[in-house]
């Protein structure tokens, strides 16, 4: 396959089954250039960890080939792959001190004592944990343990680092700090990173590219902005960010717009993403912040829908308003809290619309 040529990490038509009955990973194709920060995002059970474990060598692919720097690694045992790994539960060795944990990978590589100590200190300083060398993992907070786990995965200078939900157990604030530190480190050191999470914000903020997993397949692999703004199917649209979905049938396709007749009878404009024929059922997706109810800001010829305000929620920086539109009660719009912004009241009838390119007609 041409797509894997020159890639640093490549999955080529990889399949995985644990029990011989169901495929947990179905036909996975993925290639990463050196230095990329790629995130695997997806709901629980979608096969993310499995992919990571195959890459690390703890599971073997049932079918297909995984290459690292052009070399197939299917038959290289884990300890020879030279891949740094940060586990979901950190997996710091409880019977060793922080420094011993860090020097472990260096010891098994038979690196001399002084070089080892120096590298350990450098790695600890890198994660700002220089003062904790003598502690046991149990004497550290969750965030500190996380840092040590990171330092341990990096201390032997691997070219590829895998992280499996490393921040899952931490509170929001700490998570944000560490997200920032991890990305910084990864970019500074030029490490290729595969990062697993099911937190979409994390995925969006940290990654160069995000692979959205569902049902053992990559649903979309794209940079964060593209993923958010141009989801390729309704799963991605729904999974990433908040999203309004309206269902209907394609009435007309002309070039890069189409007209959809909703089940309620209303007509709207949309970009046809994966609808091909008139008469196809579709789910139309519109981001809440792209919905406009100020008539003046809409195109004159834009299709509009009538909406009744059900709820108005003040969220500080934004207002979140729930509407009844085209037969659904779950239609949400978000508006910026600006001085001139109108605050809608429940019961109020309004008219909403959007730019056609913000409304994507996806698979049903």
């Amino acid at each position: 396959m041409t797509s894997t040529d020159g890639a640093f990490v490549a999955f080529d038509r990889v399949q995985k089954s644990y029990d011989g009955e169901t495929l947990v990973v179905k036909d996975l194709n993925l290639s990463m250039p050196k230095g990329e920060f790629l995130t695997m995002l997806g709901p629980s059970g979608s096969g993310k960890t499995t992919c990571l474990m195959m890459l690390a060598g703890f599971e073997t692919a049932t079918h297909g080939d995984i290459t690292l720097d052009g070399v197939s690694i299917n038959n290289i045992p884990p300890h020879k792959r030279g891949i740094g790994m940060v586990f979901q539960n950190y997996a710091l060795f409880p019977h060793m001190s922080v420094a011993e944990n860090l020097s472990f990978p260096l010891e098994v590589r038979k690196i001399g004592k002084s070089a080892r100590e120096e590298k350990v200190m450098r790695a600890l300083d890198m994660v700002q944990m220089g003062d904790f060398a003598g502690r046991r993992p149990a004497q550290l907070s969750g965030g500190q343990q996380q840092r040590i786990a990171l330092a341990r995965a990096l201390v032997f200078e691997p070219e590829l680092v895998l992280m499996d939900e490393p921040l899952g157990a931490l509170d929001k604030q700490l998570r944000e700090t560490l997200q920032f530190e991890i990305t910084n480190l990864a970019h500074e050191l030029g490490i290729t990173t595969v990062y697993v999470t099911h937190d979409q914000t994390e995925a969006l903020t940290m990654s160069d590219r995000v692979a959205v997993f569902d049902d053992g397949r990559i649903q979309q692999l794209a940079p964060p902005d593209e993923l958010y703004e141009q989801p390729e199917n309704s799963f991605v649209a729904q999974f990433i960010g908040e999203n309004n979905t309206l269902e209907g049938v394609v009435q007309e396709i002309k070039g890069n717009t189409c007209i959809v007749k909703l089940d309620s009878g209303d007509i709207i404009d949309a970009v046809p993403v994966n609808v091909n024929n008139v008469g196809d059922r579709t789910k139309v997706s519109i981001r809440p912040e792209r919905v406009e109810f100020n008539r003046e800001r809409l195109h004159d010829d834009a299709h509009t829908l009538k909406a009744e305000v059900l709820e108005f929620i003040y969220m500080g920086d934004i207002f979140r308003t729930r509407l009844r539109v085209a037969g659904t009660d779950e239609f949400v719009i978000k508006t910026r809290n600006a001085p001139d912004q109108e605050r809608l009241k429940p019961g109020q009838m309004i008219e909403i619309g959007w730019l056609p390119q913000d409304c994507r007609a996806l698979d049903a």
Binding site: G57, H79, N89, H95, V108, A153
Partner: protein
């Protein structure tokens, strides 16, 4: 120094806190009270009782109080039989002891120290009532009928001035009166005193005491009790018997402990037992070595099994677990018979080996009735005690540690040895302590499959508890065993640290 912090109610904070904590503690104590009482009753008290029994030796001075007192003046090293006084005292003590039936008990007690005393006491007990001391009784009663009047005796013995003049008679009479009430269910005021009281009266008179009614005792031919006892059995004239009585007369003795370590109290203090009686030190050492071997075997066999259990699929693991627990559920006899069928010279294992040709038919292996048999059978029985704690500790070691180690570049062996094994050490520790302590206390299995060289010190303890009834020795052996275990436990704590023992998660 800062001011004490004051709580809201105006008391010092510390006092308030203490009060609150005390209430909490009392409540907790009340909750665990049943357990505490149970432990006290079922563990602490028996152990205390055992410790006490290992030194307790009241039976001698309680059964033969006068004899013990009289023996004070006798020099055990003299090689001479004690003089008449001692035999007089022995006569009174013996006559009383026979009524309480305690002389045979004392006999068995002293027989542990010197062979032959049991039958000596039994025999003497039967004969002591038939001594010729009735000549004293007759002489006194003939001299004055008041000596035959129970009421008169009660009156005399209530008179302090008479009591002071007749010390031996008083003591003999008092104990006789007590015995009449306790053992015979009679009243002293209706019973004529027994011969030994008159014998004491005679002895008082001879030593110059003034009698309540004066009697000329010079006309009475004295009865030599020494000869009388000598007639029963000449062992009474053997200083060795007396030395035993004297040596074991204190209320507390270290004799059982000396015996437990193959020593004894000889003529010149503590000395080693004759070589053909030395057994306990050998047994202690053997018990330790074999228990350690059993423990080692259990670790060697149990570790891989526990590892399999912890890492297999649940269903397979359950099956394996049943196999592991099987020894718990089979009765001892079935288990032992099974071992015999397997291990004996005409047994399955030997048959197979002969059939394969590894051993010659006329040179079959001895796998049972020796130490090998004990180690095999005990390892089998105690294996679950090693596997269960190991398993429960291993179950808590997430597989991600091994993966982490491998991802960091460790080979399978390094990952196991540096990462997995250290974390399973608490399980090994717990298993070892359990197995070791159980092993040194086991006696049924060694008895059945251990032959002569595969038995433990506990077999001797069981023997002394249930057959020889030498509970003092059993207690001393038990105490030593307990001490050894505690010392080993302490050493273990120093080396490994007792915090490093885990029975599970």
């Amino acid at each position: 120094m800062s001011e004490p912090v004051i709580a809201a109610d105006g008391r010092p904070l510390k006092a308030s806190l203490n009060r609150a904590l005390r209430r909490q503690k009392m409540r907790a104590l009340a909750l665990i009270a049943p357990l505490l009482i149970f432990i006290l009753v079922s563990f602490v008290m028996p152990i205390a009782d055992m410790l006490f029994r290992s030194v307790e030796n009241e039976i001698v001075s309680e059964t033969l109080p006068r004899t013990v007192a009289a023996l004070d003046a006798w020099d055990a090293g003299s090689g001479e039989t004690p003089d008449e006084d001692v035999f007089n005292a022995l006569y009174t003590d013996m006559a009383l002891a026979v009524e309480y039936k305690s002389h045979t008990r004392l006999g068995s007690r002293l027989n542990y120290e010197t062979t032959g005393i049991a039958s000596l006491f039994r025999k003497s007990g039967r004969r002591v009532g038939k001594f010729d001391t009735d000549v004293y009784t007759k002489a006194f009663q003939d001299a004055d009928p008041r000596y035959a009047d129970p009421q008169q005796w009660v009156a005399w013995m209530a008179d302090d001035s008479i009591r002071a003049k007749l010390p031996m008679t008083t003591s003999a009479y008092d104990d006789w009166a007590k015995m009449i009430v306790e053992a015979e269910n009679d009243v002293p005021s209706e019973e004529e005193p027994w011969d030994f009281v008159y014998s004491a009266l005679y002895n008082d008179a001879v030593s110059g005491a003034e009698l309540p009614v004066s009697v000329d005792v010079s006309g009475i031919t004295p009865v030599s009790l020494r000869t009388a006892f000598g007639d029963i059995d000449d062992k009474w004239l053997n200083p060795n018997v007396w030395r035993t009585i004297k040596t074991y007369s204190p209320r507390y003795t270290d004799g059982y402990f000396l015996n437990s370590v193959d020593l004894m109290k000889g003529a010149e203090g503590v000395e080693a037992r004759p070589e053909n009686e030395q057994i306990y030190i050998t047994l202690f050492i053997r018990t330790m070595i074999m228990s350690l071997s059993i423990m080692g075997m259990c670790v060697l066999l149990g570790y891989p099994i526990a590892w399999l259990l912890a890492n297999l699929k649940d269903r397979t693991a359950n099956l394996l677990m049943i196999l592991v627990l099987l020894p718990f559920w089979t009765s001892l006899l079935v288990r032992t018979s099974a071992w015999k069928v397997l291990l004996q010279q005409q047994g399955v294992i030997n048959d197979i080996l002969v059939w394969i040709g590894i051993v010659a038919d006329d040179n079959r292996l001895e796998l049972i009735n020796n130490q090998t048999g004990t180690i095999i059978a005990m390892t089998h029985i105690l294996l679950p005690f090693m596997i269960l704690p190991l398993y429960s500790v291993m179950k808590t070691i997430p597989p991600s540690y091994l993966r982490a180690a491998k991802s960091l570049g460790a080979t399978n062996w390094t990952a196991f040895w540096r990462v997995y094994f250290p974390q399973s050490v608490p399980g090994i520790g717990a298993g070892c302590i359990l197995v070791f302590i159980l092993a040194i206390g086991y006696y049924i299995t060694p008895e059945l499959v251990g032959g002569t060289k595969g038995v433990f010190i506990s077999n001797r303890i069981a023997y002394h508890i249930s057959s020889s009834l030498n509970w003092g020795l059993a207690a001393a052996l038990g105490t030593i065993l307990l001490t050894i275990v505690m010392v080993l436990y302490w050493v273990y704590d120093k080396i490994v640290g007792i915090d490093n023992v885990k029975l599970g998660g």
